[in-house]
């Protein structure tokens, strides 16, 4: 089953990982959560991004609005 796993650390940082998706669909899958939580400040894709089944990881290192 496709899943999104989000790890929230006590220092406010967070990490998002999607598993079980096909192709680039995981990017779309996690987009609604990313937008709900805030905004992406940095985005990086590796070669694995284009594999049929992929795992995406998102890091959150800055929680503050100010």
């Amino acid at each position: 089953m496709a899943q999104i796993k989000i790890r929230f650390a006590k220092d406010g940082s967070s990490k998002i990982e999607t598993t079980g998706f096909t192709g680039t669909s995981c990017q779309s899958a996690s987009e609604f959560i990313e937008k709900a939580l805030g905004h992406s400040a940095e985005d990086e894709k590796t070669a694995e991004f284009y594999k049929e089944t992929d795992t995406h990881t998102h890091l959150n290192v800055d929680e503050s609005n100010e």
Binding site: Q3, R7, G12, S14, S25, E44, E63
Partner: protein, 160 residues
């Protein structure tokens, strides 16, 4: 790992702010507050343990941010806080508030989109520090295609 992104969490959803404060046992009020530097902030006020001034979440404030590619976007929500670099309040309480806000906000959005989710305490693989892991189950989303067969509902459309 095939994709990494850095995301700044915007604490601005009033319902989730209240829910977060309730979960942590913090007092919540609404109104105007004057900070040390004279700034007057209006909105939801959360009293963090040991903090001299409340954290004020103005959910109506809007502000502009210039992105790395030069484009400018308008954001909503602004957090006012003043702990004088830790002298007037331990930063860990604000970090924890942001952590729980993130958990509650993600849970809410997943639920609104029709997905089930579960919460667990896990250990960071390198530091051993406790973290909260939220797992969102998305049956039928592993079918491929541009949107992966997702039913996004309206849950992800509440943020500018």
């Amino acid at each position: 790992m095939s994709h990494t992104a850095t995301i700044n969490i915007d604490v601005k959803d009033p319902q989730v702010v209240r829910k977060t404060a309730e979960r942590l046992g913090y007092e919540v009020t609404e109104g105007e507050c004057q900070m040390y530097d004279g700034t007057r902030a209006t909105g939801i006020q959360v009293r963090l343990p040991g903090w001299r001034y409340p954290v004020v979440v103005d959910t109506e404030a809007s502000w502009e941010e210039t992105l790395s590619d030069g484009t400018t976007v308008t954001r909503k929500g602004r957090v006012y806080s003043d702990n004088y670099n830790g002298s007037w309040g331990d930063q860990k309480f604000m970090d924890e508030f942001t952590q729980i806000y993130g958990v509650e906000k993600a849970s809410q959005e997943a639920s609104m989109a029709g997905y089930t989710c579960s919460e667990a305490i896990v250990l960071h693989p390198e530091t051993g520090a406790e973290e909260i892991e939220l797992t969102i189950n998305m049956p039928g989303s592993d079918l491929g295609g541009d949107n992966g067969g997702l039913n996004l509902g309206g849950g992800g459309l509440t943020v500018e």
